[in-house]
Symmetry: C2
Subunit: 415 residues, 2 copies
């Protein structure tokens, strides 16, 4: 199987095709979950799948499954894939790369008439980004039973549109799909993705063998003070929600500034009411996103944040609520080894790496042997129109995925 | 004229009537400029005016004028008034008190058949608050030639509605009005208003003789960094627009913290893009509202703010633009004296006081002899549904206004 590699030209063609859906004209896309743009991207992949005779299905939360049958028809499939939705705006690699790499694997297996013991299925998860509907990794979370279906279907975007309505509207445009249930069994799951960080690029390593996903805690903090006239109210009489929030955030930044720069502390959203230039703000709501690979350290910092917010000296009222608490996930040793040996067989340098970002693979971890393949991205930039991965690395990642799938599902193929 | 006082019951009735337009149910109103609610309040006053035979006019920016004729028909009127629009939400005293006090003066003059040498006119300025359309004091600014009419008419609210469209829609509901030009001559201007600060209440003084209005500088600051993934991007590689903005604001707060607590430094609006919990912010825009009674100190701090923003050490780009620069205004000595002696003749304690807030009177100052009467408000709270003035103080302010108008415009009335 030394010559078992994917079709480079076709991969590039698929990449360009996907980049056309939601193209901002600035190198990125605006393709939020269940938007017309994401639906068009999903539809294009399904059209290609049907041309190849693959079997296309959808589950109740809108995850898509594209199956190439194995020798044993009813075995649980080996699943590979990622997501097509983007940040607003986002780049042309986050998520979409894992989908086109997985689909390329399916087409190459078909081109070469390589039979597999179990079916191989491309999964396109719904709403991984959470940029339009909260929470993130919604589709895989519902699939895994970690998020109730009803709750996910009732989530609304900022315009008040519900997931269920938007899903129904999207599905109408996707042609005929088999309906399958939630949480159908998988024999394994492998996801290819850009690193979204600077580590692989810095060490000139094309393949990252992902050891796991760091834990994530999200909080929403509300600061309530009192509106007052900006021209008349002396500083000493103000209950300024914004300045209080800024002082609190300053303390939390000091708390989370570690010498090794491993703690990830982000305030990504902050809104101010009433928001008039001549009125002292009465209310501020902001989010905290906190991540660390160590569950113990994460829990310690989480408790400290709650403590600082609860004991903060202020004339305002502070309320901190934890909205997400997801412990670190460790990936399957056999899958990690499979990815590593696949890279070696392709003469590609690889390195173990922890994932800073969360991924749909997080929810697959507890369900079946799971792993991820990272490829480098330029300057570690992601969630940004400037996100960029070298085509050679895209090919390398897809080749490793093909090799790993073949070894796993077609054991008669020699190394 | 020892018995020349306003009709208390009627003043209370007018106060309650006005409070019904845009009533939030929490003690305040939402009655932004040119909204249906403000139009209804304007319409109610115009109906009362027409019943009394007063002459109702409007100018091109939507300021309303309600005239009681004087002995000399064509003389420039003595104008008294304020505004009916509110913050979102606002209280039941800011602006509206000055309008009903002025209208009460007109009705009392009529009740008592007191003739005046010059016409007396109630003015209801358009869009004083600037809560819906920017800038503040739009109507008086255009009247005084300080703001171009075209620019004011083209201002849009956050829903994209333009002043000219909303003004036309509002005027349709106000019945027949004479059309007068901008900047018609005034022989004097007196505005009654709540203090919006704590000084009069603290010294138990019912009447403030306003010496002038402190200067105001407004700026808009834009901080541009780079979007990045919250889970993967180390602190050292972030160009976080929000944390940079917070550091900058912290420096500006230190700069504006004076021992006498006279500098007013407010950040009332701050928006964060893209505003996703898991994305490091790329852009922050915030406003600065800076006020001080001394022009020299105001200019010094203004220059320091510009300097700090320009030289701030950061990987982000900072841009600070001055959007409003209005020097302090000093009111007419004769009008101040007239208000003081009117209070004395009513056995009301008065004190000289500087205005922390800006008012329509600011733009009248350069046009004609101008002054303001302040009454106390509870805890100095304004721009808030809890805004409150004692009815006795409302009566006192209206009595002083009546006495001052009578002395000014009907010189045969003895003290």
């Amino acid at each position: 199987m030394a010559d078992l590699v994917i079709n480079r030209d076709r991969l590039l063609e698929r990449h360009r095709l996907m980049a056309s859906f939601g193209d901002t004209g600035n190198g990125g896309v605006i393709r939020p979950a269940l938007s017309d743009e994401e639906t068009a991207a999903r539809s294009a992949i399904l059209d290609l799948a049907r041309e190849r005779g693959f079997i296309c299905s959808v589950d109740p939360i809108g995850n898509l499954f594209i199956r190439r049958n194995g020798e044993q028809g009813n075995q649980a499939p080996l699943r590979i894939g990622s997501h097509l939705d983007s940040q607003i705006p986002g780049g042309n690699f986050d998520g979409v790369y894992g989908v086109i790499a997985a689909f390329e694997v399916l087409e190459t297996l078909e081109d070469r008439a390589i039979s597999t013991s179990v079916p191989v299925e491309v999964v396109i998860w719904n709403n991984e980004e959470g940029a339009r509907f909260s929470p993130t990794t919604m589709g895989s979370g519902v699939h895994a039973g970690a998020l109730p279906l009803d709750q996910a279907l009732a989530a609304r975007d900022t315009n008040g549109k519900r997931v269920d309505e938007e899903l129904a509207r999207s599905l109408e445009k996707l042609g005929q799909l088999f309906r399958i249930g939630l949480g159908t069994e998988s024999s394994g799951y492998i996801e290819a993705h850009i690193e979204q960080g600077p580590v692989l690029e810095a060490s000139n390593t094309p393949i990252g063998v992902v050891t796991g996903i760091q834990g994530i805690i999200q909080l929403q903090v509300t600061v309530s003070g009192e509106e007052a006239h900006a021209g008349t109210t002396p500083r000493s009489r103000r209950r300024d929600a914004l300045f209080t929030a800024l002082d609190l955030i300053a303390d939390l930044r000091a708390l989370t500034t570690d010498p090794d720069d491993e703690v990830r502390f982000t305030v990504g959203r902050l809104s101010v009411l009433p928001g008039a230039p001549n009125t002292v703000p009465s209310n501020v709501v902001f989010t905290i996103d906190l991540r660390h690979p160590s569950e113990k350290i994460l829990e310690t910092i989480h408790a400290q944040i709650i403590e600082v917010a609860a004991t903060f000296r202020t004339s305002c009222h502070i309320d901190a609520v934890t909205t997400l608490a997801s412990p670190p996930v460790c990936f399957d040793a056999d899958i990690r080894s499979l990815i590593e040996t696949s890279a070696t067989s392709l003469h590609l340098k690889s390195a173990a790496i922890a994932s800073g970002a969360t991924h749909d693979a997080k929810f697959m971890g507890p369900l079946c042997p799971t792993g991820m393949i990272f490829i480098p991205c330029r300057d570690g930039i992601s969630h940004n129109e400037k996100e960029w991965a070298e085509f050679e690395h895209m090919v390398a990642g897809a080749d490793v995925l093909l090799r790993a799938v073949s070894k796993w599902a077609s054991p008669d193929i020699a190394n």
